[in-house]
Symmetry: C2
Subunit: 424 residues, 2 copies
């Protein structure tokens, strides 16, 4: 019956929720006439429900020139971006970004800690995040009743419905902990928790360069390497919530042992730690004049140092990054052959190497995939920057709150006047 | 706007089409009360539309004991499997199966040619298929007006909407030919054409062992190697219709040149031709007593001979198949890490080696994938046998004809009395 429920999702929601979902997802606004065409509902049905939505404060309308109407203006309906705010949290293995965003995912204010340790455990870390969020809400002078929800990304596979990490390889102390429950108690609103690369893929889908793509991959290159999968315009999480764990796909001909217990994993060869380790070797062996100098000055060598070396033209560092790009390209080529995406977007700290790392990836893909899979394929770096995760966490809240299954409840609580949307 | 259209599909269909879709997909039948619960429609709406559907002949009802009703019987609504028939065609690189099925995908009669050559070109092959289908319709004494549609699988990537193969690597003469149009002209009904592994995945989804799986892979091992992908209960075709082309994913450390122009492709190492080639070597080198004897008798050595050798306990042939299984396992392990399916079903001629080929695949997967991705994973051989493709081609017709977007048109033409469903 589980499958039948998945199929029947298309029907088991109220008309107003369906109309609202289309308006929200229209992003740039939609006229009543277009709504009627897209939904198949009559104009009077549309009018009636749009009136309800306008009075709820979730939806707003603006006058814009309408191309299909001889250049006269039409009323465009769209999500009211000021209907409330969202707490958006992006937890990395070593960093914590907390933002307050509007419901469109636009950050209003963001705070960041760059050197946390996730293995302090969930409560210590979550307490930090909550306190950072509360500070921001206070700075922005936002009353709590305007808070619509909380979204969070964590660097672990998890069960989406309960918001619990499941067998997380790099943050064992979080195993089974209900992050969702903690956040809902702390803020008194709905909370949604997802894998960090999934929220970044959602950010690209709605605010990045993949806005016209139905099937694409977001690949995060950082301490960990992971992939967010968008299939038919929706996030794909897999049967156990661990789809896209490409840091543990195998690279040809390598026998390095990974912390996961297997050998030849991509992350072990191309993650930040691998780059850093190899950079120290280049410094010690005097292969890189730039890094050798840093080492002799007693400075720590990080991926940022390697990037500075690359920018300065240090050949051994350029070669190192090209080699790493080749490893990534080997794995991603197989993804292209299997998944046939229309776009691949690279994000995460290691993507800051730009074309020096992306060109060797491109070369592998074009060199080993079929022409049909590559002829329209776009391969690029994310342009959302370091707030990508925060933006995605905020949009996750929008996606879930306005999901047709959820929205009927959300709407009636607002119409009864007890929460955010009208509380300006 | 393309993406918005994808999202708005959930709304832009008639109520009767939605109700019908749930009934059709309920497979084992659904009560009016369950329908109301699944769809959110009122009982009177359900009653009204169910009456229409019953009068159309597409839907039927049966009395069955109802567990949720104290053991009393309830009326279960289900697809009327005798509402018409479907022509189902499964084209392989070297074989052609043509069947007449009921709309549930159950074959009523099947004919098969085992040694065709797809490169005779589309018209020669399609003419054969049409003539075989017409013979079967005649033998079964089915009047043409009972024909609901035609479904066909071809071993090529294709554009699903137009039914045209796109850059097919092994059947170049079919490039751009509208198979769909040919079939629609030949039979005077709607035709749907898909990749061969996709229709087999559809067969497993509805008639095979993957009936409870939302995310699974069907892998065909034969002359070609390909993968049908089911994502959230629906077939996933990729951006250019070539998703799942895993025969051209790379196997560690091999430099064999493939007909696609690349090196190290799985198909070149584990396809039927590779097995046959290696089998001839085993015969010539006298490593396999069984095959050596065949060769000395002047017989052709095929994969079937190798299977007979394996069954007879010929160690070198068992080793050959285990090695081939290892290559397949290398590639499929990466798919498990990326896609996190709940099940993998193997079909195609080479899967007839059974556990001799599947055990080494299992070994690779369990040996190199994370525990979360493998803890619930089932890996098995298809039990649908050689009619798998025919069954899938028939169900493809059911899926498309009863798709909420299409069904409104289908229903009104039937209610106007001019086609199949009532024409018994």
């Amino acid at each position: 019956m589980e499958r039948l429920e998945a199929y029947s999702n298309i029907a088991a929601v109220s008309t107003v929720a369906k109309i609202c979902n289309i308006i929200v997802r229209s992003d740039e606004g939609i006229t009543r006439a277009e709504l009627a065409r897209f939904t198949g509902f009559s104009k009077s049905t549309i009018t009636q429900h749009v009136d309800t939505l306008l009075s709820s404060g979730f939806i707003t309308q603006i006058s814009l020139p309408d191309k299909s109407n001889g250049g006269r203006t039409s009323q465009y309906l769209k999500l009211n971006k000021d209907c409330g705010v969202v707490v958006a949290i992006d937890l990395g293995i070593t960093s914590l970004h907390v933002g307050i965003c509007n419901i469109m995912g636009e950050p209003l204010a963001v705070k960041c800690i760059e050197n946390i340790n996730v293995n302090e455990g969930p409560e210590a870390i979550l307490q930090k995040a909550v306190s950072m969020a509360n500070d921001l809400l206070e700075e922005l002078n936002v009353p709590k009743r305007r808070l619509l929800g909380v979204g969070m990304g964590v660097p672990a596979p998890l069960e989406f419905s309960t918001g619990r990490p499941v067998s997380p390889p790099v943050m064992l102390s979080w195993d089974g902990y209900s992050v969702k429950e903690y956040l809902e108690k702390a803020f008194g609103v709905r909370a949604y928790v997802d894998n960090d690369v999934n929220i970044m893929a959602i950010a690209e889908l709605w605010r990045g360069d993949a806005r016209d793509d139905l099937n694409f991959l977001f690949i995060k290159l950082g301490t960990g390497i992971g992939c967010g999968i968008i299939s038919n315009g929706n996030i794909y999480r897999g049967s156990n919530g661990c789809a896209g764990d490409i840091g543990h796909m195998k690279v040809d001909g390598f026998t390095h042992t990974c912390y996961c217990g297997n050998i030849g994993c991509l992350e072990k060869l191309a993650g930040a730690a691998a780059i850093q380790e190899r950079a120290y070797e280049l410094a010690r062996n005097k292969e890189s004049p730039y890094l050798e100098k840093l080492l002799s000055q007693g400075e720590e060598i990080t991926c940022k140092s390697v990037n500075a070396a690359v920018t300065s033209g240090d050949i051994s560092c350029i070669e190192l990054i090209r080699t790493v790009g080749g490893y990534i390209g080997d794995v991603v080529s197989n993804l292209v052959t299997f998944f046939n995406p229309s776009k691949i977007v690279f994000g995460g700290g290691i993507s800051n190497f730009g074309d020096v790392i992306i060109n060797p990836i491109r070369k592998k893909i074009y060199g080993s995939c079929g022409s049909l899979a590559t002829k329209d394929l776009q391969i690029q770096r994310s342009r959302l920057g370091e707030n990508c995760g925060v933006i995605g966490a905020a949009i996750l809240v929008r996606e879930e709150l306005f999901h047709p299954k959820e929205f009927t409840k959300v709407l009636s609580s607002v119409l009864e006047g007890d929460t955010a949307a009208n509380g300006k």
